[in-house]
Symmetry: C2
Subunit: 457 residues, 2 copies
Amino acid sequence: MVETYDADVVVVGAGLAGLACARALADAGREVVVLEARDRVGGRVWNGTLSDGRTVVELGGQWIGPTQRRVNALVAELGLETFPTFGEGEHLIELGDRRARYRGARPPLPPWVLADLGRAQLRFDRLARQVPLEAPWAADRAEAWDSVTFETWIRRNVATSGARELMRIYAEAVLAVEPRDCSLLHALFYTASGGGIDALTATRRGAQQDRFVGGSELLARRLAERLGDRVRTGVVVRRIGQRERPGGDGEVRVEADGFVARGRDVVVAVPPTLAGRLEYDPPLPPRRDQLTQRIPAGSVIKCHVAYDEPFWRDDGLTGQAVTDRGPVKITFDNSPPSGRPGVLLAFLEGDHARELGAWPAPDRQAVVVEALARLFGRRAARPEEVVELDWSAERFTRGCYGAHLAPGVWTRYGPALRAPVGRIHWAGAETAAVHSGYMDGAITSGERAAAEILAAR
Amino acid sequence: MVETYDADVVVVGAGLAGLACARALADAGREVVVLEARDRVGGRVWNGTLSDGRTVVELGGQWIGPTQRRVNALVAELGLETFPTFGEGEHLIELGDRRARYRGARPPLPPWVLADLGRAQLRFDRLARQVPLEAPWAADRAEAWDSVTFETWIRRNVATSGARELMRIYAEAVLAVEPRDCSLLHALFYTASGGGIDALTATRRGAQQDRFVGGSELLARRLAERLGDRVRTGVVVRRIGQRERPGGDGEVRVEADGFVARGRDVVVAVPPTLAGRLEYDPPLPPRRDQLTQRIPAGSVIKCHVAYDEPFWRDDGLTGQAVTDRGPVKITFDNSPPSGRPGVLLAFLEGDHARELGAWPAPDRQAVVVEALARLFGRRAARPEEVVELDWSAERFTRGCYGAHLAPGVWTRYGPALRAPVGRIHWAGAETAAVHSGYMDGAITSGERAAAEILAAR
């Protein structure tokens, strides 16, 4: 038995992009159906809980920043509450054989390292501002920037090993890849899209400023509630067909096991590497198909380590640490608004996620806890529990936070990222010009795809 | 109605890898079935014909070289005939504003360019010899070589613009990508795998030495004939499941529309980027899935331009040209053994294939013919016909000649290229250590996968 659903627009994927797209179309009076492979909405935004069943820990995207205007407006409109990421006290930094506590934005590094880092950041941000966000391939120096890796730029432009390590940690923390994995052009685009290095890395006034009371998944759930039974979960889309008929008429046909949705347009709002695995009839043109061969997802395992209380706060620590000793290089205090229980968030990113992803969970978690004990003292060595997620193992994501582009890809395939193919439109955080890779970018990408369709028909 | 087929081993893909694998297994007494999506065997080896219906022009792989021992042995065993690529007379070279005719291996370049090129090649070949073919990630300097693009190496190590252009043409001609698209480690591995720059680029004593009488597809057809009805064409595999049962027993289940094959092992012998699009149950581990997100195919349009006779031979030309003026940078005399009609083969590769692939065929062909007329004179401007194939548009290939790896991929994901995942084994020219990317590598990769299975059960 094949169930058939007719709509004006079929949306594939009920992450924030797909939901925001569907909502914009529904608000404009279009019939819409959203097909989601998982049994939940939200995609890369997903609430987990600790074993108490109550304390929410976000397994995926969780923060929003003050310059992310669209997501902030949506939060207000949907009546959601946010609270600031905990930041009272001193941060920790470990670099080489030095460990230090500090307040504010500038870590207590040797003056020559600080000067080197400052120069590098200034230079990098200045280059980033030259990237046209809607068309990175059109930057004056796009050819040169797309011929080298970000790592090559670091080696040429950063002199001290300390500052080099911090630039590498920047890539890992923001892109979940190593600086060798992406082109300089990609690193510049992503930095520019997010508003610069400071905006991307900061908690106060930066992309990690605010958290959601009740978890970020609420954003997706509230959007989905408004769409009601137009959102169909557990529907694994396999094939998208499109046909034109004389007179400008035509249709799309989106096939899943036991389910077919028909419409006049389709929006594919899943990560690019998964979009490339669907079957298309007629087959996609070479430029688009070869793009999705070259737009892999990053590697991250997000680990929540829970304690009865956030003991580091009593030690005058924010819970935020940066270290060049792997495998954990970045931590945050991720406790709920009440501050009980205490939760430290430890990221395994890039190479470390790739390597530790293959380890048995207890071994991996032991290494994570050991790193926290080194940073936050022996109380950190005895957590109540660890809740972790390796996004590369998620069948319907296959890597986080988002895609990165190797040398040559932005300049040769970039235009295919958003360009519709007939009646197929592309959404998702990766397709956003502004705040690419973030919740804000996901939402605006969905709304942009909706606008494309509303303008066309 | 679902047709079910039971075998010991199910092979996905009837290219040379899949066929060689199936044959080795059948010879060892195993029941085997080969499932091929197309209605023909051969994969990237495919005979076309001119409009006379008789003159074979190979749309894909066509040459074999004297050091490719396995394919040469198979040619002899299957009773196929080869003939030497036409090479009597003078080659053409265009570089900057100079055009010249020459004999032998060394073009008549200014002495400082020749010296620069010679040094670069010597240095590059020397590095290549340090790459362990079975494990490129284990090279002593793998980290450094996998952190930069091949283009970065060229800029650092080649001083003259002429020699730089020739190194770039090397990447295009051998890998069908630009040197910015792959890591230095990949370029070194591929070069080492093929026996060095000279062996890869030469006709005499090189990888372009010999052609097949009747076309290279005969190799696949002869192998398929011996397998008989064990080869099933028109079967588009979509899903591979595997289950273990207590006691070391277990099975694989390979599903296509209306067809299921069951066995104890499966060999996936399709290009890596297509292998990554199948559904696997259970899902593949992160390392393997993320590998196939990062192993794109190159870009090439192979154009045969036919004339009533090979008029360039009368002008004392071999038909072989190298030029730095795109879009055609490499040509060969590809006439049949009889020398009638005359066929010039022009390659569009890398950036040029990507760009011209989106053009209407008549416009693209006009540009190709114009390039040939510039090189071979006005008789080249009036061909009888043009037969071309854009491999990136082929639904069941999606790019040629083979895959290339960007910075970071060999060192972080390389081991997943061949490592079996339970009962799933991987074959295909990309998985070969020796003559990777060539027919010879395809054959040995299939035989290696067969040996894995024979050793296990």
